[in-house]
């Protein structure tokens, strides 16, 4: 679960990482009030859970109350990459002498936390990683030993920094590592970590992504997980317990398994456009597939649905009953093609056929999608 910037900054502040003076606003008047307390100029930052926010116009500066009114109104009525801006972060506009980078993540290969630092922070950090790898350093942390400040000090010294900056930065890294452990994050990032003219540091941006598998045991207050999903269809998917990703095509997809789902999406994408990605996971029941149908059908202008399920751990014949019930109750007219293999496949085919679903009995997903392509009248 990714946290909003303002939520992450609050956690940073509680853990003694220096952060800007700031406040969150849901209306122009609230923004005006916060800015009045902080003093102009201020930064206004759209709080949306999507990358590349700045380049998409989600970060603005206001130097006067009049300017702020216009900017805040514009931001709060805008969308950033399809997500409505419900809140903006109003914060002090610090004078920045230099931008640094610090991030903590888990290296899947070594199975250890890794701290990444760079003297060239900012929006071009990924470019820097490619063009000037010498400006980026990684510290692998031995989990049984933990993090000790000397590890950061040694690396920062090698990057050629002065003592005052090394001391301040080492402190921030230690606190960020502490946050990463307490909140079981898979990504913690400060980019940029600003160097102020007086030599102090300030976390100008904040990224925290909590491990979904650890959410139930984290002992610190966290925002609601479902609540924050802006896309209504994706939120509904989370509520019924499936992974749903909203896409911009017109062919609905229901699949069991991420790999099978992605492969189906890829093959559909060759000649048509998938409307969504939907992966049921291992808990198929008649009710779940009924709800999946309901969810997929919520998308307007759908031309067809493709169902691709495998009966390993999943009782797919049960799932077929749910699909059939939905078709009957809602008198579904668009073509539905189903590929169902594995345990109980014959029974599953019977149920699908009786409900008017086009059943493909071959193993190849491609064959099923060819059938679908013919049915939607483009092949």
């Amino acid at each position: 679960m990714r946290l909003h910037e303002y939520e992450a900054l609050d956690i940073f502040e509680q853990n003694r990482i220096p952060v800007p003076r700031r406040g969150v606003a849901g209306t122009m008047h609230e923004a005006l009030h916060v800015a009045g307390e902080i003093g102009y100029p201020v930064m206004l930052k759209a709080q949306v859970l999507v990358g590349g926010r700045g380049l998409a116009g989600g970060i603005k500066v206001a130097s006067t109350p009049d300017e702020l009114k216009d900017v805040a109104d514009a931001l709060l009525s805008s969308e950033i990459k399809g997500l409505p801006v419900r809140k903006i972060l109003v914060c002090e506009k610090a004078e920045i002498a230099k931008e640094l980078y610090v991030g903590i993540t888990v290296d899947g290969y070594s199975g250890t936390p890794v701290i990444v630092v760079s003297t060239e922070g900012g929006v071009l950090i990924e470019e820097t990683a490619k063009t000037s790898p010498e400006k980026i350093a990684a510290i692998h942390i031995d989990p049984s030993f933990g993090y000790y400040p000397y590890q950061a000090r040694t690396i920062l010294r090698m990057l050629g920094l002065k003592q005052q900056l090394i001391a301040a930065w080492t402190d921030v890294i230690g606190q960020l590592y502490h946050v990463a452990l307490r909140y079981e994050v898979i990504i913690a990032e400060i980019n940029p970590l600003a160097v102020l003219p007086n030599g102090g540091l300030l976390a100008v941006d904040a990224v925290l992504e909590v491990d979904d598998s650890a959410l139930s045991r984290i002992r610190f207050p966290l925002p609601d997980r479902v609540d924050r999903i802006e896309n209504l269809l994706e939120r509904r998917g989370r509520e019924i317990g499936v992974t749903y990703v909203d896409l911009d095509g017109d062919i609905g997809l229901i699949s069991s398994g991420a790999g099978l789902g992605m492969a189906s999406m890829d093959i559909i994408g060759e000649k048509m456009k998938p409307a969504n990605f939907l992966e049921t996971g291992g808990g198929i029941t008649a009710d779940l597939l009924y709800r999946c149908m309901e969810l997929v059908m919520m998308k307007p202008d759908l031309r067809a649905i493709f169902i691709n399920v495998y009966g390993g751990i999943n009782p797919i014949h049960e799932g077929a009953k749910g699909v059939a019930r939905y078709i009957k109750e809602h008198n579904v007219k668009i073509p539905i093609v189903a590929k169902a293999l594995g345990n109980h496949q014959e029974e599953t085919w019977e149920i699908f056929r009786a409900a008017g679903v086009h059943v493909v009995t071959e193993a190849a997903t491609e064959k099923a999608i060819e059938r679908l392509y013919k049915l939607v009248g483009r092949g």
Partner: protein, 291 residues
């Protein structure tokens, strides 16, 4: 020979009395797996069908000589189960559990250093050496004994590929699901090494996904050390960047681990990459000169 498992592998089921544990124990036994013991704390002395249940893995190992374990234990207790199995001297641990916190897996990886246990998973459908032994939840009957090794990060997609190979008359030596989580035990790299050494495997199929670096590592090993042909498929070419597509491992961000980069790396190393999973069986047939 097959890799990791053979017809003599003696298996203990951790979490045997749970509904999934019990169901799949019976499925495995029916397939021919030598399920010699089960473990559920507090249920020692009972039996599931004819399989004796013990309170600890240690007891199970002492009394039955179990060498492999299958873990059907819910996420909060799963890493405890893995540690217990390793401590008891189990050589192959297959962890089917989905949803283990990453921090717990960091501890497991740490604990495993210097130990010889092979961990498969977590979040895997398991491993099968057709006709010999199955530890997992895959449908056994679609497999066929043969000489092609399969390793995959995806469960259901693997079934499709296996089914296709079997229908084409191409059997499998061993199929290993390495699991979809960020931190796992054996990786593609380890599995390729085992297949390269196995004199009953002639070719290998890798079924990869977006995210992570497992495919890239496999490509490097292949280029430097491998003599057997490898065919690969990568799912997720149309996945929008920065979105989760179901597996914790299947995330693309920052332009690394995306399908196109992976495909390019694999092809440059000399691995045959198919664009469509339906082409896998024919491609395997052609690299093995089967007509």
């Amino acid at each position: 020979m097959s890799i990791i498992l053979d017809e003599n592998t003696r298996v203990v089921i951790q979490g045997i009395t749970g509904s999934e544990g019990a169901f799949h124990t019976r499925q495995m036994a029916e397939y021919g797996t030598r399920v010699v013991a089960g473990v559920t704390p507090g249920r020692g002395g009972q039996r599931l069908d004819n399989i004796p249940i013990f309170n600890t893995v240690k007891d199970a190992v002492k009394n039955t000589g179990a060498k492999a374990s299958a873990i059907f234990v819910p996420p909060p207790f799963a890493t405890d189960a893995i540690m217990e199995a390793i401590e008891a001297g189990i050589e192959i641990v297959v962890c089917l559990t989905e949803g283990i916190p990453t921090l717990d897996m960091i501890a497991v990886k740490q604990y495993m250093k210097g130990k010889h246990t092979k961990l498969i998973g977590p979040n895997t459908p398991g491993i099968i050496s057709p006709g010999k032994c199955k530890i997992g939840v895959m449908a056994g009957y679609i497999h066929k004994e043969g000489r092609v090794g399969i390793t995959s990060r995806s469960g259901t997609l693997t079934y499709e590929v296996v089914d296709q190979l079997t229908r084409r008359g191409i059997g499998q030596s061993t199929c290993v699901g390495i699991g979809g989580d960020p931190i796992i035990g054996l990786t593609f790299l380890d599995i390729l090494q085992l297949f390269e050494k196995d004199n009953e495997t002639d070719a290998v199929v890798i079924i990869g996904e977006i995210g992570g670096r497992a495919e890239e590592e496999a490509a490097e090993y292949f280029q430097k050390h491998m003599t057997k042909p490898v065919v690969a498929f990568i799912a997720g070419i149309t996945a929008p960047p920065g979105r989760r597509m179901g597996h914790a491992g299947a995330i693309i961000s920052s332009g690394t681990g995306d399908a196109r980069t992976k495909i390019k790396t694999l092809e440059e190393a000399g691995i045959v990459v198919v664009k469509n999973p339906a082409e896998i069986a024919n491609t395997v047939a052609s690299v093995l000169h089967i007509h």
